[in-house]
Symmetry: C2
Subunit: 259 residues, 2 copies
């Protein structure tokens, strides 16, 4: 069975989508078939992997709300071994639509568990979450085995962490007692910038081994790649960003007993 | 009566909070008494202006849900002429609490209109919105005279704009027909970076005069200032960030017939 990881942080613009796309691509390159589920109504992961808006007739909305079959909602993308379930703006009404349904936090979990046969092809599922602790993100946390938290190396980013941990504890006490923290990855790190060094020091001091050794540097090639609908590994395979996401994939595999 | 401006963009990390804090401070410095309402459960604007978590006993949650008096929820901050209504994490439950109340999109509008006497002291009210098009952001748009959109000079940022404009149109057709666009301000602009130039060209071509002439450059001093609980004007008054936000305030005043 695949490992299901929610890529989440309610702070906006910290590198959730960039991490989902590029960690996904690096895992695929390392031989692990990976599925990305775009659970953000903005649909950035879908765009960043080249799924045009006209190709999103079926999407993560159908998977979440109707339990649609993965075969009907997932798309291959240009990267071998990497598929994606795209997102549309319809997702933002899922909050309201599911609001008074019983078991509303478990819709995605049920939709995935009901089709473990289909999922058996994959070794990893990465869920790209929106910048909020709303019903979409809670569904991702309830469906997931673990949560991977991109932490931007900036002041406001640390402030949001305690709120995220509270939510994690609530999900653990309720619908998903097995939910673990896969790890916290520092993003947009600039070693010339004091703030980055300070955030790293604070994070490693308070969170210890939960913080990945791999750090993702600020690298303009990472922000250019999505406009060419390519992960960094294809856009500029020797860039600092590509090297870092390959290292993150290797570290993740090692932590999960695979090499 | 004050002009009420919602600072909003559902794309995360584009500079909403940084713009609310620093434009607010620059307007205050120019002699316009300004109130910032922090409507983001993350409470970044509150932290960035030095309101400690223990001082948030009353907050924007009370204003929104109970129509609390401004005198009870607003705090002076270190900047003369700038007050803030802080935010707490309680705000994130407001969505659920207001969900089945009639007129739920108009709670903030009513809370402000009911106390125009108190508000008469101010020339501007800036509402810092969360990164989502949820009930909090809709409340801000219904309460506001106009919306100011920070647009990060990056690829994903442009993609979200059409969604935002759709929501704007819905609000105008429904609860707030007078809602206008105050303007779109390019943020984190780096003139050495092709992507920034491209986003600016696209934005000015498609949105014309809606785009402020003033552009906010990427400036590390802006990201350092909140950790000292100061707006950029106090933290480093001659930095590129301070100069830009003063220019933005001047442009905003000129557009509103004040100089
Ligand atoms: N390491 C990096 N170096 C440079 N730019 C980066 C890096 N990581 C992400 N970016 C850019 O920063 C912006 C924010 O990243 P991204 O969209 O992945 O964040 P997010 O957390 O998914 O945002 P949201 O909260 O809106 O979902 C994007 O324009 C992206 O291209
Ligand atoms: N012009 C700038 N130059 C450099 N850093 C900036 C600039 N504007 C904002 N920042 C930094 O970028 C990060 C994102 O900015 P900010 O938090 O203001 O965005 P936001 O849109 O309010 O985010 P959210 O979507 O989470 O509410 C912060 O760490 C901030 O300090
Ligand atoms: Mg994202
Ligand atoms: Mg903010």
């Amino acid at each position: 069975q695949p490992k299901i990881i929610a890529v989440s942080n309610q702070k906006g613009g910290v590198g959730k989508t960039t991490t989902a796309i590029n960690l996904g691509a690096a895992l695929a390159e390392a031989g692990c078939k990976t599925l990305i589920i775009d659970l953000d109504p903005q649909g950035n992961a879908s765009t960043g992997l080249g799924v045009s808006h006209t190709d999103r007739g079926t999407s993560s909305y159908d998977l979440l709300v109707d339990g649609a079959a993965l075969a009907d909602v997932s798309h291959a993308c240009d990267v071998a071994g990497l598929n994606i379930v795209p997102a549309t703006a319809d997702l933002s009404s899922a909050d309201v639509e599911l609001a008074d349904k019983s078991g509303r936090v478990g819709f995605l979990r049920k939709a995935l568990r009901d089709q473990m046969g289909e999922l058996a092809d994959y070794q990893f599922v990465l869920i790209d979450c929106p910048p909020s602790l709303n019903l979409l993100t809670i569904n991702a946390m309830v469906a997931a085995d673990s949560i991977l938290v991109p932490l931007q190396s900036e002041f406001f980013a640390l402030e949001g962490l305690s709120q995220l941990m509270l939510t994690l504890r609530e999900v653990r006490q309720g619908a998903n007692p097995d939910l673990r923290i896969e790890g916290i990855v520092l993003t947009m790190y600039d070693k010339r910038n004091n703030l980055s060094l300070q955030v790293e020091e604070d994070a490693r001091e308070n969170l210890g081994d939960l913080v990945f050794k791999t750090v993702i540097p600020r690298n303009v090639r990472l922000s250019e790649a999505p406009s060419f609908a390519k992960p960094i590994l294809d856009y500029d395979k020797n860039s600092a960003g590509a090297v870092a996401y390959r290292a993150l994939a290797a570290e993740l595999l090692a932590l999960n007993g695979q090499t």
